[in-house]
Amino acid sequence: MELSELLEIGQQERTRQKPIRVHCCTSTGCQAANSLGVKKKLETAVNRNGLSDRVEVVGVGCMGCCGRGPLVQIDPENLVYEEVTPEQAPSIISGLKDSSVVEAQPGDPEHPFFTKQFKIVRETSGKIDPERIEDYIAAGGYQGLHRAIGEFTPSEIVNEVSKSGLRGRGGAGFPTGLKWATVAKAPGDRKFVICNADEGDPGAFMDRSVLESDPHRVLEGMAIAAYAVGASEGFIYVRAEYPLAIERLQKAIKQAKKYGILGTHIFESQFDFKINIRIGAGAFVCGEETALMHSIEGKRGNPTPRPPYPAQSGLWGYSTLINNVETFCNIPAIVTNGGDWYASIGTEDSKGTKVFALTGKIRNNGLIEVPMGITLREIVEEMGGGVPGGEVKAVQTGGPSGGCIPASLLDTPVSYDSLAQVGSIMGSGGMVVMDNQTSMLEVAKFYMEFCRSESCGKCIPCRSGTVQMYHLLNKISDGEATEADLEKLEQLCEMVKHTSLCGLGQTAPNPVISTLRYFRHEYSELLQPETINV
């Protein structure tokens, strides 16, 4: 396919589209609030009002402010309605016809929740129909892949990605360009590309949302990666709890194949790439890269020591590139606009944007994509609208591997280094706001309980250490612990962190360590005086 043909598909799609598009979110969050019912009523109302020649109702992906769903947004006017009920649908449509008063709660597109965002990964999320490849193409999709194959050598692509400064969004923040270069240089002509869509962190739904809203962007990113590192086969490992994401990915792969965008001779070049979906049973540990690869191979999802890293010896022993969903979604924009452009966004050590799932005790729940360097305060107070009827006590980032940042440090900019400095991590993007009613000990207990039950059990520090830590946390909160127990807890934190085999155990103590660092009094208050047993 020539570039002109790709552009032609986009042009045709735009001509086919009606001038007024009523976008109704059909992602999991809004579906749970009956957005499909709303969509049906919107469609009926369009027909009833005889508007079908200029208005169309489009099921789109997530718009971000999921806490206020179901959401309906009207283009090109950019009107937003929140918490729409099926009963309100006719009024929204008649409003289009005769400007009558609409009986639905309007949203405010000028709210910092929207204006402070910078969308790369989620650029087309909520604007296009995730089930139509043509809609993605009309929005500029697959041009990055076309350019990559047609205009660049694989090593030039790796260079652009290195130049962009992009770091892995799956949690550890490893430089993506360096990882690609290692796989590209690895000997052997069989290589794999894996998209890690396991997303096991409690409170995180960024990757699910991207997969549901914009599956083609993930495929495009993966295909560019495969071209750059010399792979011809890829896997998307996604958990079975994400049925909608899986369904849309399957559809997207089928459509891309039909257009010759995936499969053999992509865009009529010599480049072949096919993508398979692997459905995981939903174990947190299976997000760990070595465990994930064993799972794909049909074995028990147990981590194995690294080195060897996947780039050296991955799937079935072949060199393998493994990246997170969000990481891949940044790639098409980097190829299209150049690495320098990407590197101009964000901070020195953290380039580009990051998607966060903003949840907890906060007014505006949802998904945001912000430039790196934005402060936690801007996110929590301005975009999130603060805590309803209370004060922020702490922000938890990084999920079970992360930590709690106290309100006094809200001016910390969001970057890999600065979050690490205050004892937390960027992680994959869960951000939980806690108010002053929250007990930090309970928070630590929650994450420890999670790690305890998710430990694969292979190594003793994690298998048993998390159980013992959870037990000690309970003992403290039950008012049955002494100073010696707290000391033991701290020793365990240190031991489990340094001796566990994989990242799960190595980071499991973090929520305890960070709450002890900033909220130690909440622990000590509950301690009992030491008694001497005779």
Partner: protein
């Protein structure tokens, strides 16, 4: 034979390139504690007892799976390592039901010996007293899950040396269990050839020969290594 030189606890050592730190240490006569390692089968790095410190590396690395590198400075017995190893053994004791006085392996047990070696005389951690069962459905052998430390040595010898793959690991965290076949009674698993390799591999009193009473259960580890080496050298060709 390409050679790598390194120091282990200050002593210079030269070993075949590609050796593990554990092999290098053995060559140098330095003892590194291990439980999941078994000569003759693959290593998994699970017990974490063989962790060592390497100058210039923040992470502790398992000696059994880490390859030597030129000029590596390995420290095998720092205070920190001793402390961590003791904690590992304490946790192993507290997560199973190890009542040595009534155990078939009393006196011939690698876990018990490890506790002695590391100077662990009691566990600081709460005993968990798990409810685990004993399976004596096999005509010759038995498995007492209460004594299992999940080293997976039985799994590996059965898979890698006998080729039967009777054993595997099921479930996770506190529910972890070594299972026979498809979580069947051992005696019902047709794949079991009753070769006894897992009996010889088990470091504790978990897998035993029927009829052994307290403190009677000994093992012939050398047999496994002999089998593996003989096979590697192709000593039996038919």
């Amino acid at each position: 034979m390409p050679v790598t030189t390194l120091t282990i606890d200050g002593t210079p050592v030269a070993v075949e390139t590609g050796s593990t730190i554990l092999e290098a240490a053995q060559e140098a006569g330095v003892r590194i504690p291990t439980l999941c390692h078994l000569d003759g089968v693959s290593d998994v790095g699970a017990c974490r007892l063989c962790l060592v410190e390497i100058t210039g590396t923040r992470k502790l690395l398992p000696a059994c799976v880490t390859e030597v590198a030129e000029e590596m400075e390995v420290h095998t017995n720092t205070e920190k390592l001793q402390e961590y190893r003791r904690m590992v053994v304490e946790m192993l004791f507290s997560e199973g039901n190890h009542v040595c006085a009534v155990c078939v392996s009393n006196g011939h047990c690698e876990l018990q010996n490890m506790a002695v070696e590391l100077g662990m005389d009691h566990s600081r951690f709460s005993y968990r007293f798990p409810q685990r069962d004993v399976d004596i459905s096999h005509p010759q052998f038995g498995i007492d899950h209460n004594r299992c430390i999940f080293c997976t040595r039985c799994v590996r010898v059965c898979d890698e040396l006998e080729g039967a793959h009777v054993w595997d690991v099921a479930h996770r965290c506190a529910g972890l269990k070594i299972v026979a076949g498809l979580d069947q009674p051992w005696g019902d698993v047709d794949a079991c050839t009753s070769c006894g390799k897992c009996v010889d591999a088990c470091p504790t009193g978990a897998i035993f020969r029927k009829g052994s009473t307290v403190a009677e259960m000994t093992r012939d580890r050398g047999k496994l290594e002999f089998l593996q080496q003989a096979r590697e050298k192709g000593e039996w060709t038919r």
